[in-house]
C-alpha cells in the first residue's frame, strides 16, 4: 500500500518553536512534584545515617525511639535483607545497612511517625554501636589497602573493576608517529545538585497493591528493584515517576529511601512519605566520578593520529551503582570525533568510603574528553599547528566504524567547527589577545541512547501506546519521564506531526508502570531518539487506519490521503475531506476501537568482544566550543566571558528546547570547569567538606557566561525525523575549552578541574620561578594491568571479536 506518510511535505510541528505541553503548569505552581503530593493518614519517614565512614554495626537499639509518642514503625536492615543495585553485576546495596556501613551517610535505620519532627526526634533516639574499620579515602589508599575490603566482590582488594582492551597494535602506531606525547590529568568529582531534593510517597492499599510516587528518572528499574527487595509480584506494584525537579543523572538509581517508604507503608498500612534534606541529597550522590587519567598519543607531523593509549582510574565511592558502565565510558568515545586507527584502553574502578559515584550528565565521558582535548591542544602547540586545524583535518568519517567498533552515522562536526571558527572570530583572537585574555577550543561527541539495555533482554527499549477516541481525542502513553528536558512534549510533537493535529490537542500520560508501556528511563540521552521512534511508529500505524477509512469514505485513492490542520483530505482536491475527529469515527466504525502501539529497539552494534556493550549508540551528536576568558594573574580568578558552541542536533524537533539544552549543558560544564567539586576531609572521617548549597559552589547569574549557540542539522537516518541528542553532549567541550583558553591567556596549563583560583595561582607562581607553568597530577600510580583483550580493527579486517587469549600470546 502506497501510504502518503507526509514525507517531503512542509512540516507543521517538527522544527517549530512550540511551547512545551507542560510549560504553563510549571509557571503557575500547578505541577505536582513528589513532595507536593499528600495523602490522608500519611506518615513521615526519616532515615538514620551513619556518622562514620567505615564500620561494622555491632548493635542497633531502637527501644527508646519506639517508646516516643507518635512513632508508628521502625525498621532496620534485617527487615529488607535482599540486595539490589542498578546493574545486574552490582547488586551490592541494601535499603538499610545490615552489618556494615561504608560511607558517612549510609542509612542504618528508618522511622515512620505521625509528623516529620517526631520522626526526626525518634531517629536521634536510636542507638547504634559501631566498630570502626580502616577508612579508605582516595584512589591511592584504595590501591594500597587491600584489607579490609569495602565489598567482598570485585577483582581483588578494593578494586571493583579492571578493563583492558586493545584495538589494533598501538605500539606499531607509536612507532610510525613523528611525535608521541604523554600527559596526565585529573577530573575532580562533582554532583548533580538538582534543585528538587529526592522525595517519595508510598501507599499500600486494602487490596495489598503498592503504589510509589517518586522523583525518579528510571521508574522501570525502581519497579524491578521494589519487586525484588520487597518480595511481592511486580504486577502488584505501581511506580509513578513524578515530574523531576532536575535530574541530570542523580535520580537514575533505585534508592534506599524508595524501598524504605514502600516497606514502611506495607508494615503500617498507611501512606508514608520521605523528603530528603539537602545534606542527604549529597549522600545519594551517584555523580561524576573523580578520574585520574593518563593519555599517550602518536601523531604525524600534520596531526594525524597513529595510535592512542588511554588509562583511567576511577574513584567509585562505596557502591557499584552504574560504575562498571562508567568505567567503560571513560574509554569508549575517544574514537568517534577524530580518526584513531589504533586504540588501547585500560580502566580501573576502586571502592572508597565515600558516597557512591554514578552517572552525571555525560556519564563517564566528560573526564576523558577533558583530558583528550587538553592533550590535543598541547600536541598542536608542539607541532606548530592551530588547535582548530589539528582537529578539523582529521575528523572521523561519517557513516564509518571506529577502531573500537562504534558505528558512526551522521557526523556534523566539520560544519560545527567551520561555523564556530567564523562566529567566534577564532583566527583573529587565538594567540593574539593581550596577556590575561585568551580563547580556547575543544570538540566532543555523545551517544543518543545506549545501544544495549542495562539488564540483558531482547525486548524494545521504548514503547508507546496511542489511543484515539471517537470525539477526536488522542492520548499518547509512554513510560518515559519528563525531567525538564521536554520529553512529554517531544511525544506530543511527533504524534501531532504525523496525525496533522495540534500538539496541545494531545493528552500525554507518562511514567506510570500501570498505565504506560515500558521505556527504560531518562538517561543516556536516549529519550528523543528512542521514544520518538516509538511514537512515530505508533502514530504512523494510527494514520494508516484512518487513511484506509477516509479513503473509502472520500472515494479518493489511499496515496492521496493527507493529514493537516486537524483534517484528513484528498491532497489533490483539498476541499474533499473530513475533520480529524470524523476520520477517527470512520476508522472506529470500520476497525473497532482505535489504539496502536509503537516500539523501538536499537540496531545491533558491530562489536562482539567482551566490553562491547558500552559505547554503541544508534547515533552520535557532535559539539564544538570556543571559550573566551579573562584570567586575573593577581587573584587567579578566571572569568569566562563568553562561550560559542556549535551542536550537531541532526534535526531539531523543537529548536527552543534544543537551545535550552545547549545553554544548560554549557552552564553545567562551566560549573565543573571552574568551581564544582565533591570534596572530603580524608583525614577526618571522610566527611563531606560541605554538603550544603551554601558551600558547594555552583554558578549563579553572576558567574554564568554569555552563550552564543549555533545549531547544525545533519539528520541521522536512525533518529526520528533525523533528530539526535542534545541533553548531555554540549556540556563536554566546555571544561577543556576553558583550560585551553587559560593557557592562551596566561600560558599555564591547568590539567585538573575545577580550575580554581588556588590552582591558577600555583601554576603562575611555578612559571614565574622558571618551572613548568602547570597545575595537575604528576603521574598515575603503578597498576598491574591485565593482558588486554586484543581486537583487530575493522581496517585490519576484524570481525568485531577478540582474538582468543592463547592466540594473543602466540602473537606476542
Amino acid at each position: 500500500m502506497a501510504l502518503n506518510n507526509g514525507n517531503g511535505k512542509p512540516r507543521r510541528v517538527v522544527g517549530k518553536p512550540f511551547r512545551k505541553v507542560d510549560a504553563r503548569a510549571k509557571c503557575t505552581g500547578e505541577t505536582r512534584f513528589a513532595d507536593d503530593i499528600t495523602l490522608p493518614r500519611q506518615l513521615y519517614a526519616k532515615l538514620l545515617r551513619a556518622p562514620v565512614p567505615h564500620a561494622l554495626i555491632k548493635s542497633i537499639d531502637v527501644s527508646k525511639a519506639q517508646k516516643l509518642k507518635g512513632v508508628v514503625a521502625i525498621i532496620t536492615g534485617k527487615d529488607m535483607p535482599i540486595p539490589y543495585g542498578i546493574l545486574p553485576v552490582s547488586q551490592d546495596e541494601h535499603a538499610l545497612c545490615i552489618d556494615r556501613v561504608r560511607f558517612v551517610g549510609d542509612p542504618v535505620a528508618a522511622v515512620a511517625a505521625i509528623d516529620e519532627d517526631t520522626a526526626f526526634e525518634a531517629m536521634n533516639l536510636i542507638e547504634v554501636d559501631y566498630e570502626p574499620l580502616e577508612q579508605i579515602a582516595s584512589i591511592e589508599e584504595a590501591l594500597r589497602v587491600s584489607e579490609p575490603r569495602i565489598h567482598e566482590y570485585g577483582i581483588e582488594g578494593n578494586i571493583h573493576k579492571k578493563v583492558s582492551l586493545e584495538f589494533g597494535d598501538v605500539e606499531e602506531g607509536f612507532a610510525e608517529a613523528d611525535l608521541v606525547r604523554e600527559d596526565v590529568f585529573f577530573y575532580e568529582g562533582n554532583t548533580h545538585l538538582p534543585l528538587e531534593q529526592h522525595a517519595a510517597l508510598a501507599h499500600f492499599d486494602a487490596d495489598e497493591k503498592l503504589t510509589l510516587w517518586s522523583a525518579t528518572q528510571t521508574p522501570h528499574y525502581v519497579h524491578r528493584a521494589l519487586a525484588k527487595v520487597l518480595g511481592i509480584a511486580a504486577s502488584h506494584i505501581r511506580v509513578i515517576a513524578t515530574p523531576n525537579g532536575g535530574g541530570f543523572g542523580g535520580k537514575s538509581d533505585p534508592f534506599n529511601h524508595e524501598v524504605v517508604v514502600s516497606k514502611l507503608a506495607m508494615l503500617t498500612r498507611r501512606p508514608v512519605k520521605v523528603t530528603l534534606t539537602r545534606e542527604e541529597v549529597f549522600y545519594c550522590h551517584r555523580g561524576r566520578h573523580p578520574v585520574l587519567m593518563w593519555i599517550k598519543t602518536g601523531v604525524k607531523r600534520d596531526g594525524a593520529i597513529t595510535a592512542m593509549h588511554f588509562r583511567s582510574i576511577l574513584d567509585g565511592g562505596a557502591y557499584g551503582s552504574y560504575g562498571v558502565a562508567s568505567t567503560f565510558y571513560t574509554g569508549a568515545l575517544q574514537t568517534v570525533t577524530y580518526n584513531v586507527p589504533r586504540y588501547k584502553f585500560e580502566g580501573l574502578r576502586l571502592f572508597t568510603n565515600k558516597p557512591p559515584c554514578g552517572p552525571k550528565r555525560g556519564h563517564g565521558t566528560p573526564q576523558p574528553r577533558f583530558a583528550l582535548e587538553a592533550h590535543l591542544d598541547k600536541i598542536a602547540e608542539q607541532l606548530g599547528l592551530d588547535p582548530v586545524d589539528i582537529r578539523r583535518n582529521h575528523l572521523a568519517p561519517a557513516y564509518s566504524v571506529t577502531a573500537n567498533y562504534l558505528r558512526i552515522g551522521s557526523m556534523g562536526l566539520g560544519q560545527c567547527i567551520d561555523k564556530l571558527v567564523e562566529a567566534s572570530g577564532w583566527k583573529e583572537k587565538f594567540g593574539k589577545l593581550p596577556y590575561g585574555r585568551g580563547v580556547g577550543f575543544a570538540c566532543s561527541s555523545y551517544i543518543c541512547g545506549a545501544g544495549l539495555p542495562i539488564y540483558w533482554n531482547s525486548m524494545p527499549h521504548s514503547g508507546v501506546q496511542l489511543r484515539l477516541d471517537r470525539q477526536g481525542g488522542v492520548c499518547v502513553q509512554c513510560g518515559s519521564i519528563d525531567i525538564g528536558q521536554g520529553s512529554d512534549s517531544i511525544l506530543a510533537y511527533i504524534v501531532a506531526e504525523v496525525l496533522g493535529i495540534d500538539p496541545f490537542d494531545i493528552r500525554v500520560i507518562t511514567a506510570d508502570t500501570d498505565l504506560t508501556p515500558v521505556d527504560l528511563g531518562s538517561y543516556s540521552s536516549r529519550v528523543t531518539l528512542m521514544t520518538g521512534n516509538a511514537a512515530l511508529q505508533a502514530a504512523e500505524r494510527a494514520r494508516e487506519l484512518l487513511t484506509i477509512a477516509a479513503s473509502e469514505k472520500l472515494g479518493a485513492p489511499i496515496e492521496n490521503i493527507s493529514f493537516a490542520e486537524r483534517r484528513v483530505f484528498d491532497v489533490e482536491n483539498p476541499e474533499t475531506g473530513v475533520s480529524f475527529a470524523e476520520a477517527v469515527v470512520l476508522a472506529e466504525s470500520k476497525f473497532g476501537t482505535i489504539g496502536t502501539v509503537g516500539s523501538y529497539t536499537p540496531p545491533r552494534s558491530p562489536g562482539r568482544f567482551k566490553g562491547a556493550g558500552v559505547g554503541p549508540s544508534p547515533a552520535y551528536s557532535y559539539s564544538a566550543a570556543v571559550a573566551e576568558v579573562d584570567v586575573d594573574a593577581e587573584t587567579g580568578i578566571v572569568i569566562v566571558d563568553r562561550i560559542w558552541i556549535a551542536h550537531d542536533i541532526g534535526q531539531s524537533i523543537n529548536p527552543t528546547l534544543v537551545m535550552g539544552q545547549v545553554e544548560g549543558g554549557v552552564y553545567m560544564g562551566l560549573g565543573e570547569a571552574l568551581m564544582e567539586e565533591m570534596a572530603y576531609r580524608g583525614n577526618r572521617n571522610v566527611v563531606h567538606k560541605f554538603p550544603s548549597m551554601l558551600e558547594y559552589k555552583s554558578p549563579t547569574t553572576l558567574e554564568m557566561c554569555d552563550v552564543k549557540t549555533i545549531l547544525v542539522e545533519d539528520p541521522d537516518p536512525n533518529g526520528p525525523f533525523g533528530a539526535k541528542e542534545v541533553g548531555q553532549g554540549p556540556l563536554l567541550p566546555v571544561p577543556p575549552a576553558v583550560v585551553n583558553a587559560i593557557y592562551d591567556a596566561v600560558g599555564i596549563r591547568i590539567d585538573e578541574v575545577p580550575a580554581t583560583p588556588e590552582k591558577v595561582l600555583a601554576a603562575l607562581k611555578s612559571k614565574a620561578q622558571g618551572k613548568e607553568g602547570r597545575y595537575g597530577p604528576l603521574g598515575v600510580p603503578a597498576v598491574d594491568w591485565p593482558e588486554p583483550s586484543r581486537v583487530p580493527t575493522p581496517a585490519e579486517g576484524g570481525d568485531g571479536k577478540e582474538i582468543p587469549p592463547l592466540a594473543a600470546h602466540v602473537k606476542d
Partner: protein, 176 residues
C-alpha cells in the same frame, strides 16, 4: 515537649489578594505554613538555608526567602505566591514568556524566579541585562543556564511596557 509543640498560633494576613487565616505550630517557617497548612505547594524547598531561592515569595511586594521566615512573620502582611500571579484574565506576562521561551525546564526553581522578576519589573520596568542578572542572582537554576530566563524577563518587560515584542530569532534558532 510534644504538648507544647502542638500548641498552635493563629494569624490573619492577605494571601494572594484574599483574606486568610491559618493556625500552625509557632516554630513553623512561612514555607512550611504555605505548603503544609495552606496546601500552596507551588512554593518549593531546595536547600533549607536561604541559598537557592526556590522558596521565594513576596511579602508586601518584596521578595523574601520563606524558608528563613517564620509563619508568624506574615501576620497582617500581604503575601504573594506563584499561585497568586495568574488571574481569571490569564497568566501574568512573565508566566507567559517563561512558558513560551523555555525558561522553565524542570520548573522547580520557576516560582521563585517569577516572583523575584515580578518585583524587579514593578520597580524597574526596563531593566538591562546586568540589572536582571543582579536581581536574579539569589535564585539558582540548574537547568537553563539562566539565558532563557533573562530573555523571558526582557520579553515580558517589553510587553508590560505596551510594546509589541516578539522573541529574538537568535534565542530560538541560535546564530545563523
Amino acid at each position: 515537649m510534644a504538648g507544647r509543640k502542638n500548641q498552635k498560633v493563629q494569624i490573619q494576613f492577605i494571601l494572594n489578594g484574599e483574606q486568610a487565616e491559618v493556625a500552625f505550630a509557632p516554630h513553623k517557617t512561612l514555607l512550611e505554613v504555605l505548603r503544609e497548612d495552606l496546601q500552596l505547594t507551588g512554593t518549593k524547598h531546595g536547600c533549607e538555608l536561604g541559598e537557592c531561592g526556590v522558596c521565594t515569595v513576596l511579602i508586601d511586594g518584596q521578595p523574601i526567602l520563606s524558608c528563613l521566615a517564620l509563619g508568624l512573620d506574615a501576620e497582617g502582611r500581604e503575601v504573594t505566591t506563584v499561585e497568586g500571579m495568574a488571574t481569571a484574565e490569564g497568566l501574568h506576562p512573565l508566566q507567559e514568556t517563561f512558558a513560551d521561551l523555555g525558561a522553565a525546564q524542570c520548573g522547580y526553581c520557576t516560582p521563585g524566579f517569577l516572583l523575584t522578576a515580578k518585583e524587579l519589573l514593578e520597580k524597574n520596568p526596563a531593566p538591562n541585562r546586568d540589572e536582571i542578572k543582579e536581581a536574579l542572582s539569589g535564585n539558582l537554576c540548574r537547568c537553563t543556564g539562566y539565558i532563557k530566563i533573562y530573555e523571558a524577563v526582557e520579553l515580558a518587560a517589553a510587553r508590560m511596557r505596551g510594546e509589541q515584542a516578539e522573541p529574538a530569532r537568535e534565542s530560538i534558532y541560535g546564530i545563523e
